[in-house]
């Protein structure tokens, strides 16, 4: 290569770097393309409480029925007329072994199998209460979070167990969410912190705000950030559980706590409805947008629609707190986010105004989850 050519090439590279958008060096995957499912295109209700992915299928629990999305379309809406026990579907868990879909509703627990609903209520079965907020599958057991405690159904024997303030270390029975970990089951208890059930030992271990005063933890990473826990998730890659509270978000790896507030991190709001995690990715569903934390780099990204422009807004918070804003032509259906599910590299987000599909476009975005996982 001649020197002049070398110089031109070098100037071109320097020029590109000089004029390229100012984004942090360790940019996580960004979702710049969003596809929304709302009442305008088939959803039975604006409010989507829950979402779950089952291969190519996406299930969404709304305030007015269960929705099945296939091939980027609402293919079926199930209502109480189809056998759903209640119109409000708060949680969804797909049993990967049997293919059955379990639903928590405001009218009991339901098993969707072979196109039919089998319902379990407190009158007919051992379910503690018909207001069920969360459901999870652990081998042959179905766990349900109800307002009267935690239920466990042994699907082989039909035995129902109830764990409440009478039988577990919880002063409040009102349970919100359940996550299955490594030989452990975690439960989010409103006002009761996080409960950890040891499957082999059959005992509970509570995680509470260490000062016990129903207030924010006094020191940043002293313990669970708050006892009013709205949801819990388990990261099988990092062996951590994450708790969403209405006063911040906590992660725990068995030794150390990692607490986040909107004032000291890129978290969009302290009012966190749910968390979902995998690999280095931690997602927080808040009332002011969907926040993402790359746990390894401490880089934050928040997604929310811009009410003024109708476009999307991405705010990147670098570890040094430097902010970068990116405008996107599409965005979440609403900034009030209730839950999230992964579908490969895509994400599905339940919001107060519809279900949003974040489409991964690898040529525009940073390192994918799978790539990150492979390089770990």
């Amino acid at each position: 290569m001649r020197n002049t050519q070398r110089i031109r090439w070098l100037l071109a590279v320097v020029g590109f770097l000089w004029f390229m958008p100012s984004v942090p060096a360790q940019t996580p995957a960004l979702y710049t393309k969003w596809e929304n499912f709302t009442t305008a295109n088939g959803m039975p209700d604006a409010k989507v409480f829950s979402v779950a992915v089952d291969g190519e299928r996406v299930w969404a629990g709304t305030e007015n029925g269960l929705v099945l999305i296939e091939n980027s379309k609402v293919s079926k809406v199930f209502t109480t007329a189809d056998g759903l026990p209640n119109r409000v579907v708060t949680g969804i868990a797909v049993d990967q072994k049997t293919g059955d879909v379990w639903l928590s509703t405001f009218g009991g627990l339901s098993q969707f199998s072979g196109g039919k609903f089998q319902n379990y209520t407190s009158m007919t079965t051992g379910l503690a209460n018909d207001i069920v907020y969360g459901v999870a599958i652990q081998d042959d057991f179905v766990w349900a979070a109800t307002t009267a405690g935690i239920n466990r159904l042994n699907t082989r024997t039909g035995e129902w167990s109830i764990f409440s303030e009478k039988t577990a270390p919880m002063h409040e029975p009102w349970s919100y969410g359940i996550a299955v970990g490594e030989q452990k089951v975690y439960v989010a208890v409103w006002g009761g912190g996080v409960l950890e059930y040891d499957i082999a030992g059959g005992y509970w271990k509570p995680y509470n705000d260490p000062d016990g005063e129903m207030e924010l933890v006094l020191f940043k990473n002293q313990g669970l950030i708050h006892d009013i826990v709205s949801g819990v998730s388990y990261n099988h890659d990092t062996k951590m559980f994450w708790a969403s509270t209405y006063f911040g978000m906590s992660g725990y790896n068995g030794h150390n706590w990692f607490n986040y507030l909107s004032t000291d991190s890129g978290l969009a709001s302290d009012f966190v409805n749910a968390t979902q995690t995998r690999g280095d990715d931690v997602w927080a569903c808040t009332d002011k947008g969907l926040s993402y934390l790359n746990f390894k780099t401490n880089t934050w990204v928040t997604y929310r629609p811009n009410k003024g422009t109708g476009k999307g807004e991405i705010v990147i918070t670098a570890p040094d707190k430097k902010l970068t804003k990116i405008e996107t032509p599409t965005s979440l259906a609403h900034n009030y986010v209730l839950n999230l599910a992964f579908q490969g590299e895509d994400i599905w987000v339940a919001t107060a105004a519809g279900l949003s599909h974040g489409i991964h476009e690898s040529h525009k975005e940073g390192k994918s989850h799978e790539q990150a996982r492979a390089s770990r």
């Binding site: 079926k76 293919g99 072979g114 196109g115 089998q118 079965t125 051992g126």
Partner: protein, 634 residues
């Protein structure tokens, strides 16, 4: 018409000549042990009956394997020799069989052992035994023989087993009492039929379910509802280009009509569901079409529709009527003409269908529960459960070629005779039903019946089990029958059979049989009998709440008297009701006299508003769950 069993010279043990022959044989042969078994207590047990219940052909059509439930054995019948050539012992109460696609392995479900015996068909030895769910019955492999599907009749689920390792991969939820399993001809689906229907309101007709499993994913693809029927039995899929549909025998009850009403088809009909499966197994809404036809004639009924098979060309379908000792042969060309000419909505109640489509009614021996057609399509083999024999039919002439004696005891004991009577519909007006029609497997049919009052809907009562009831007199929900002789004699004759009923000898045999009906082991108890913590807590509640006042443990948890526990509805004449026994109560939903309670929980959550059925309103949900867990151990 002379009964088939009489025509073939069935002998009764009370015959003096038979008794004399037995005595002579015993005296002349010091080493004689006959076919009788002696139990550990030293008392003479029953003759060694085989009680064949199911049969399957080897892929080459040379061997016919037969499961014998009372002998805990499997037989291999060489169809060229027309005799049993091999036998091996398996687990307790073998009920069904499956042959691997390569023909090298035979799987046998052992209902009371909760196992499947894996038999090498070359050596005819049990190679290994696989654990299953509770009460395994119907089973099949997938097309490659890699996955074994087993219907668990007591667990109400289907075990999915890796046939190479024997590992149970998962269990799929079935409905109630799944008994029969069939792999589709294209290998894509596994069908499972349930004996009992959905638990619903006693005011509604029953709705049964045929479960469809996607054999690629081993997940439930579809649940096909079949309204108005009970006791879905064997599943046969029509072969050939005109095939693709299923025949599933059923019983169609009119249980909401007063039983004393004899006109308009009376209360029971028998037929088959014709199911045309969905083209795709999408796993959501069912697209299968279901039609029902009756196989009864207008003045003669064919109870106990059970076995089902097609000829290889799909031209004929054979259905056994286990309680009428008959095989019906359906010409499928005529069947389709019938389906095209009569609206589907009318067919389930039309009693003129059979004469249009049934081209042969062939007599069999007692209780034909299964039929298989040889791969060459030249013969059909009918399994005569209570005759220890096979009836062989020529195809397409549909003539009885021969009987194959499978080798069981020849003398007919009182109990055996009673069991035959129990399964024989000829004592009922027009042969409409037998005792076993409403008590499949000596148990329940899961619905409530309007038995003895002429008013529609009054005094409707749920069917009660016949297992282990010898010491639980009096009988009936109102406790008016002091003994089984009353129950099974004049009462059945007058109110149920509308016939002369059984004579005194027959009645004695029948009652002896019913009193001998055993009960299987309790699946909710651990092997060592130790209660779990929840069961122990429940036991404490049971006695603290004085449940044992009416349900004392010493007498099968029944005080054998009547109480008013506040469960009578406005349709009941009296609230005074017999206290039911609680043995294996988990196998008996629905509960209460009218079948209103779909679960044990509902007895107290919905139907004990005034605390007359025990003071339970002060119980927490946790305590109620514990009580239920204890009740399941009884």
């Amino acid at each position: 018409m002379k009964s088939a069993s009489t025509a073939l010279g069935r002998r009764n043990s009370r015959s003096p000549s038979v008794l004399a022959a037995i005595v002579v044989a015993f005296v002349l042969s010091p080493a004689w042990t006959g076919n009788a078994q002696v139990d550990s207590s030293g008392s003479a047990a029953q003759p060694n009956y085989l009680t064949p219940i199911a049969a399957k052909f080897s892929p080459d059509g040379v061997m016919l394997f037969v499961a014998c439930e009372d002998d805990d054995s499997v037989l291999a019948v060489d169809v060229r020799l027309q005799r049993v050539v091999k036998k091996t012992k398996v687990g307790h109460k073998p009920k069904d069989l499956a042959v691997s696609p390569d023909g090298k392995t035979l799987y046998v479900s052992n209902e009371w052992s909760d196992t499947v015996s894996v038999i090498d068909t070359t050596t005819f030895q049990v190679r290994k035994t696989l654990a299953t769910g509770w009460g395994p019955r119907g089973l099949t492999t997938d097309r490659l023989g890699r996955i074994l599907y087993v219907a668990n009749s007591i667990g109400n689920d289907v075990s999915v087993i890796d046939s190479a390792t024997g590992t149970e991969l998962k269990r799929l939820t079935a409905l109630r009492s799944p008994h029969y399993v069939q792999l589709s001809r294209d290998g894509r689906r596994v069908y499972v039929s349930n004996i009992l229907a959905h638990l619903g309101s006693p005011d509604d007709s029953p709705v049964s379910e045929l479960m469809v499993i996607d054999s690629q994913k081993q997940t439930v693809a579809e649940r096909i509802l079949i309204p108005g029927v009970l006791e879905l039995r064997h599943i046969a899929e029509a072969p050939g280009p005109q095939g693709g549909y299923l025949l599933v025998p059923f019983m169609r009850p009119k249980n909401l009509n007063p039983l004393i009403q004899v006109d308009n088809g009376w209360i029971l009909t028998h037929g088959v569901a014709i199911v045309r499966p969905a083209k795709t197994a999408a796993g959501i809404a069912s697209h299968s079409e279901v039609t029902q036809i009756l196989l009864d004639d207008i003045d003669r009924y064919y109870a106990g529709a059970d076995g089902a098979a097609f000829t290889p060309d799909g031209r004929y379908a054979l259905i056994t009527h286990a309680e009428a000792a008959t095989v019906s042969v359906i010409d499928t060309k005529l069947l389709w003409q019938r389906l095209r000419s009569v609206p589907a909505v009318d067919l389930p109640d039309r009693l003129d269908t059979a004469r249009q489509i049934v081209v042969h009614r062939l007599p069999t021996q007692s209780n034909p529960t299964d039929v298989v057609v040889s791969p060459d399509g030249r013969s059909a083999y009918v399994v005569n459960r209570l005759d220890d024999s096979l009836t062989v039919l020529n195809i397409p002439q549909f003539k009885i070629r021969t009987q194959i004696d499978l080798g069981g005891a020849k003398e007919i004991s009182d109990l055996r005779q009673g069991e035959r009577l129990f399964h024989d519909s000829k004592f009922c007006f027009q042969g409409q039903f037998a005792c076993s029609t409403c008590h499949p497997d000596n148990h329940i049919d899961g619905v409530a019946w309007n038995l003895e009052t002429p008013q529609l809907g009054r005094d409707r009562v749920a069917n009660r089990t016949l297992r282990n009831i010898a010491e639980t007199a009096p009988y009936k929900w109102n406790g008016h029958n002091p003994d089984l002789e009353t129950q099974c004699g004049p009462r059945i004759a007058k109110f149920l059979f509308h016939s002369e009923g059984f004579n005194s000898v027959q009645l004695a045999d029948l009652v002896a049989f019913i009193k001998s009906i055993p009960i299987s082991s309790n699946r909710h108890l651990s092997f060592d009998g130790q209660l779990t913590a929840a069961q122990e807590r429940g036991r404490d509640i049971f006695f603290r709440k004085a449940c044992d006042t009416c349900h004392p443990p010493a007498t099968h948890y029944t005080s054998k008297t009547s109480f008013d526990v506040g469960t009578a509805s406005k349709y009941d004449t009296s609230g005074l009701l017999d206290v039911p026994q609680l043995d294996r109560i988990y196998e008996k939903p629905p509960y209460l006299h009218n079948g209103e309670a779909r679960s044990l929980e509902e007895i107290w959550t919905l139907y004990n508003p005034t605390d007359k059925h025990g003071v339970t309103s002060d119980m927490s949900k946790e305590q109620l769950n514990d009580l239920v867990e204890f009740l399941k151990t009884l």
